[in-house]
């Protein structure tokens, strides 16, 4: 697999029984890449170890006063240099390719799992957990998978060097061969504590970042009412805690660095001590001593990979475990799907649990005193609720939606919940959703009264085209009312057989809401639409209004009729409670409002 061939057409079916198994699975998928990295790594490390030999040969040549030997040593160094450069570059290329392909594969698996689970995902695991896998864990997993082949190359090289030294200069070679394993393992006992401290530091840094972004997110509140000093003081404290934790962690790492200097240094002293004795006895040449000394100096390079692989594994193990957990989630159907999903779902929409009937082709408004119950009812109307309550499935044209394949049910009925999310991208991309094709974007936008949103977007875009204007994540750059209208336009573009809207205009002002109600009725004429609302402006324009009270349909009629005949309906729609009705009704029968006037004589008429 080359980087340019990414993404994978099919990232495969991972082994997610545990973290280590997942790592193993990832490694197996790129066996070829690992082998290539190993081979280039061997070339690189072995050539690096040739350098000391060349140095020793050169010094010996000078001792022997031989110009030709010196030239030979030079040629040897030159060849080694080319091999080092080639090996290093190719090792880096193959290792990075392994890293990237592993990371891309995990990202692809994650997005596929996320799309498959949809609304279910965040009910099973925290959203932060999934995002953490994508932002932090993938890198660590990739790092370990990539480091394996580099480590193997380094370890093999060390074996080769020790064996080579023993053969080249047995007396000194044995000293080195005994010393190297000690060097390799020397710092390992310190690593767990060091990674632990690094984790503490990261955690504190995360906390400080969270405080800072929280303060900035609420900055308008702070600037409007005060308290900046309070929050600054709090952030300074958190920031200094990060600093203290970081220094504590650095203390540990600096101790490791000291050990990394000390241990090879001790080996060097032993080599020199022992070697000079041999030189003095005439058993080895000066050049050979220099070779061994130089080799011990260079050894620290492959040795570092022991430390790295230990760290990579300790960092990536929790990451792999988390990734495996997220990827092992499955969508379990509450009921068996029996329908083949080939027939077109159409007809009246009926909910047996409440008795709610939305006739085909009509605009039905549903009034429900309890917004949570309304939300659950709306979700049930679309079939396959994320958390089944054990209630019978909604029926569309007599067919149980829960028993239809998910895709078929979602195609037939679109439920727009209370908090529809605007996905980032241009407006054109936002409105490019799977749709019937018979409602154009401009018609939907007009029906949702989005004229002023388009104006605002056109100003923000680079070329004054609102359709090309970027919408930020969750539509945060727009007001609540603007967001609602774009979400409504998106649902209208989809043009489903049945459209269920839950409080689609709660953040829109009355002027605009009235026009949206007209636009909605016109655009959806002849199509089945169900709107959960308590706004008189919408209710007034519905062909049929249903009052759902305590889980059952309590009344069916039209707005004006229900307003006069049904006190429970009036209570919800005009926001009166019984007690208030008695109180306020005595005054002038006005709806309860922001300005509750204790004394109407206080009114000053100013103009």
């Amino acid at each position: 697999m080359q980087i340019r061939d990414l993404p994978y057409v099919d990232p495969g079916l991972p082994d997610v029984r545990s973290g280590p198994r997942f790592l193993l699975w990832l490694g197996r998928r790129q066996r070829g890449g690992q082998l290539r990295a190993l081979s280039w790594g061997l070339l690189h490390f072995v050539s690096v170890m040739v350098l000391p030999y060349g140095v020793g040969r050169a010094v010996q040549a000078v001792v022997d006063r031989s110009g030709s030997s010196l030239a030979l040593a030079g040629a040897m160094l030159a060849v080694a240099a080319v091999c080092i450069a080639l090996g290093d570059t190719m090792l880096h290329r193959t290792a990075v390719t392994n890293w990237i392909t592993a990371a891309a594969r995990v990202q692809q698996l994650l997005i596929r799992k996320t799309s498959e689970l949809g609304s279910l995902l965040t009910r099973r695991v925290a959203a932060g957990e999934v995002v953490a896998v994508s932002t932090g864990d993938v890198e660590k997993i990739g790092w370990f998978v990539e480091a394996v082949s580099r480590f193997l190359a380094a370890a093999l090289t060390l074996v080769v060097v020790c064996v080579g030294l023993v053969i080249y200069q047995p007396a000194l070679g044995v000293v080195v061969a005994v010393g190297v394993p000690l060097l390799a393992l020397g710092v390992l006992p310190l690593l767990p504590r060091a990674t632990e401290l690094a984790d503490v530091q990261r955690e504190k840094a995360g906390r400080a970042t969270e405080l800072a972004s929280d303060t900035v997110a609420g900055l308008r509140v702070l600037r409007g009412i005060g308290g900046e000093e309070l929050f600054l003081k709090r952030y300074r404290r958190a920031s200094q805690e990060v600093r203290t934790a970081a220094v504590r962690s650095a203390r540990m790492w600096s101790a490791i660095t000291a050990v990394q200097v000390l241990l090879p240094g001790l080996l060097l002293i032993s080599v020199v001590w022992y070697g000079l004795g041999l030189v003095a006895d005439g058993r080895i040449a000066v050049g050979e001593l220099v070779t061994v000394y130089s080799a011990v100096m260079v050894l620290s390079y492959p040795l570092r990979h022991f430390e790295e692989i230990a760290m990579a594994y300790s960092f990536s193990r929790p990451s792999a475990r988390r990734a495996a957990r997220v990827l092992s989630l499955e969508r379990i159907a509450a009921t068996k799907t029996t329908g083949a999903g080939d027939g077109t779902l159409t007809g009246d929409l009926y909910d047996p649990a409440t008795g709610l009937l939305a006739p085909a082709g009509a605009l039905t408004a549903v009034v429900c005193g309890d917004p949570d119950a309304a939300g659950r009812l709306a979700e049930r109307l679309g079939g396959h609720p994320a958390e089944p309550e054990g209630l019978p499935s909604a029926l569309l044209g007599g067919v149980a939606l829960d028993e239809q394949p998910l895709e078929a049910a979602r195609t037939a009925v679109l439920v727009q919940d209370k908090d529809p999310v605007l996905l980032s991208g241009t407006l054109a991309e936002l409105l490019d959703v799977p749709a019937s094709g018979s409602v154009a974007a401009d018609r939907a936008l007009a029906a949702a009264e989005s004229g002023d949103v388009l104006d605002a977007l056109a100003q923000a875009s680079l070329d004054n085209d609102p359709m090309a204007a970027p919408i930020t994540e969750r539509g945060r750059s727009l007001s609540g009312g603007q967001r609602q209208r774009l979400a409504l336009a998106r649902s209208l573009v989809t043009d489903p057989e049945v459209l269920v809207l839950d409080e689609p205009t709660s953040a829109v002002d009355s002027h605009t809401e009235a026009r949206i109600a007209d636009g909605l009725r016109n655009l959806r004429s002849g199509r089945t639409t169900v709107v959960f609302t308590s706004s008189p402006l919408l209710l007034d324009r519905a062909e049929q209004v249903v009052l759902v009270h305590e889980g059952k349909v309590a009344a069916v009629g039209v707005h004006r009729q229900l307003l006069s005949s049904e006190p429970r309906y009036r209570a919800v729609v005009t926001r009166e409670t019984d007690a208030e009705q008695q109180l306020v009704g005595a005054q002038r029968g006005a709806p309860e409002a922001v300005f509750t006037k204790a004394d109407t004589d206080d009114i000053e008429e100013t103009a």
Partner: protein, 593 residues
């Protein structure tokens, strides 16, 4: 290796104009200068301990060199014990000081990083409210998270490591010059290769790494959004498109990975060959010098070993120079916030009375495009004024002018005859508060969330404020009471509870004039009903300007102003406007039947 052009699509390119300024090179330089001066002492200490460590590290090659010299001369007495003792002493000194270098470097880096992020937040919380309203907090937020993160590595590692690396190289060259002065020029043979390679690389690398990082962030962003919007994705059947989008982002990101890999494929051989060239030229040139009798064999050995030691500092410098380049952009974005002039305001401007007036006000967000035209109105103390009108008519803008957040382009907005826009923000908010849909609950204790409105308040006052907004019921039921941790990650509060906290803050802050902008619009009807009761208690006796979404809000106001196309088209009480049979009357009939 065939050359590779950078990918066409650049994820780091800005899609929209940044809302806040980015620092100019001059401001960035000035800031860096200030930072260096502030930490001069720490730099000096770092350089000093580094010097000791490097000098000690050269003891080995030097001792070996002199031993080789003697051995080659056939000397029998090599003073082995003394040499070994010296060697061991130098090693202990080296290990001790290397540890200090690493620790001192981290301490310096951490201190600079802490300074930087705290400086940034101090600046941010001092921004004029008008700038925040206009720019939003998104840009600021990405600076405090992404940019601070990117700088963390640069400050924590790059600056100290580069300092170490540069002095390290200089000391090694010095050591070489002292022990074998004739060999020093041999090192220079490799310099042209290194300089040419690095120039080529560093011209391309920083922006490429920026794009690569942005590309990777975009992959993660698609996933984060898909997770967050799970329900929307499912109901709109967007799953397939999200997968396709993610795959496209992966393609864009990996194209940059491939490009930076190509850049390194050029740099790596250059560095490797540089090291080899240095070593070989020292050995060959030095070898010839020894054969000619110009230097001793010990000097050659020492020189070769020192040349070998140069690998580490050169790698160190190259590795962190990259990081520093990437960090520069982030630094410019952080420092840019310092360029926004804090609106000092005139401390002498004090309101005399509570009368709010707008006089011939024109206002626009952009040059030449006015949103409000000739708005004149008078809001006597204690009046309840409702602003109604279609979206985009200018209601919210008018509300923000009346709250002193924006200054009118022409005309005056005054409180007690004093111009609001000339007062410092801290003075304005003693008198006027703007309440909008944003009911931010800060991460922290419930107490902190209330104290921000009046830092001197006692617990009893906090409870009284909660009681005034009907929130003491649930608040007293909390296990930790005022110490309960709320906000993201803490106890989850309902939107209604969040709004009650916002109202309790108002009770504590006690401004006499309130501007309410759609304050309850995002709540469901049942919650809104409860809140409006609490709200009415808070509003009692104050001047209120309410931007009304719901007509029943307007109904009970003393005065209703209908705003259309930036002008006040109707003004009067509910009954007057209904009698006038204008736009308001038509809407009212449709609402109330």
């Amino acid at each position: 290796m065939i050359g590779l052009a950078p990918p066409d699509y650049d994820p780091a390119a800005l899609r929209t104009a940044t809302t806040l300024p980015v620092g100019t090179p001059a401001t960035v330089r000035a800031y860096v200068g200030e930072l260096l001066r502030r930490h001069r002492r720490a730099f000096v200490i770092l350089i000093a301990v580094n010097t000791v460590a490097v000098v000690a590290s050269m003891a080995g090659p030097w001792l070996l060199g002199s031993l080789v010299e003697k051995a080659a001369d056939g000397a029998r007495d090599l003073h082995l014990e003394r040499t070994a003792a010296l060697f061991a002493g130098a090693l202990v000194v080296q290990a001790f000081f290397v540890r200090l270098v690493r620790l001192r470097g981290a301490m310096l880096g951490e201190r600079m990083l802490a300074d930087l992020r705290e400086d940034f937040l101090v600046r941010s919380v001092g921004l004029p409210p008008g700038v925040l309203e206009r720019a939003g907090t998104g840009d600021l937020l990405s600076r405090i998270t992404t940019d601070v993160d990117r700088l963390a590595n640069a400050m924590r590692e790059a600056v100290p490591q580069l300092t170490i690396g540069v002095f390290w190289i200089v000391l090694l060259l010095g050591g070489l010059t002292v022990s074998a002065p004739q060999l020093a020029p041999a090192v220079l043979v490799a310099v042209p290769l290194l300089v040419a390679g690095c120039r080529w690389y560093f011209k391309r690398a920083p922006s490429a790494y920026r794009s690569e990082a942005a590309g990777y962030a975009a992959v993660a962003a698609v996933l984060a959004e898909s997770v967050d919007a799970g329900r929307t994705v499912e109901s709109h059947r967007l799953g397939g498109r999200r997968v396709a989008l993610s795959d496209r982002r992966i393609k864009e990101w990996t194209a940059w990975e491939r490009y930076t890999l190509y850049l390194r494929s050029v740099l790596f051989p250059v560095i490797n060959l540089t090291h080899a060239t240095v070593l070989t030229s020292v050995l060959m040139i030095g070898g010839v010098f020894v054969l000619q009798g110009w230097i001793g064999i010990g000097q050659l050995t020492t020189g070769a070993l020192i040349a070998q030691m140069m690998v580490d500092p050169v790698n160190l410098i190259l590795r962190w120079y990259d990081e520093l380049q990437v960090a520069q952009v982030s630094l410019a974005r952080l420092v840019g916030v310092r360029e926004i002039e804090p609106e000092a305001g005139d401390d002498r401007v004090r309101p005399d009375g509570r009368d709010v007036r707008a006089d011939e006000v024109h206002f626009g967000y952009r040059e030449g495009v006015d949103v409000l035209h000739r708005v004149t109105m008078d809001v006597p103390p204690g009046t309840r004024l409702a602003l109604v009108g279609p979206s985009g008519a200018g209601k919210s803008t008018l509300g923000r002018l009346l709250a002193g957040i924006y200054a009118p382009r022409t005309g005056h907005v005054t409180l007690g005859a004093a111009e609001l826009s000339r007062m410092p923000a801290e003075r304005v908010r003693e008198h006027v508060a703007l309440v909008n849909q944003e009911h931010h609950v800060f991460v922290g204790s419930l107490r902190d969330n209330l104290l921000l409105a009046r830092s001197s308040a006692k617990d009893a006052e906090l409870w009284a404020a909660l009681g005034a907004v009907d929130a003491d019921g649930w608040a007293r039921a909390l296990e930790d009471g005022l110490d309960a941790e709320v906000g993201s990650g803490g106890l989850a509060l309902s939107p209604a509870q969040a709004q009650q906290i916002a109202l309790a803050r108002l009770v504590l802050a006690d401004p006499h004039t309130l501007v309410l902008d759609e304050a309850t619009s995002l709540l469901d009807p049942r919650a809104a009903r409860h809140l409006e009761r609490s709200l009415s208690r808070v509003l009692d006796g104050r001047t209120v300007v309410a931007i009304a979404h719901r007509l029943h809000t307007a109904h009970d106001a003393d005065v209703i102003a209908v705003v259309e196309n930036g002008r006040i088209s109707e003004l009067g009480s509910h009954d007057e406007l209904v009698a006038a049979a204008g736009a308001y009357a038509a809407l009212w009939r449709s609402w109330h039947g």
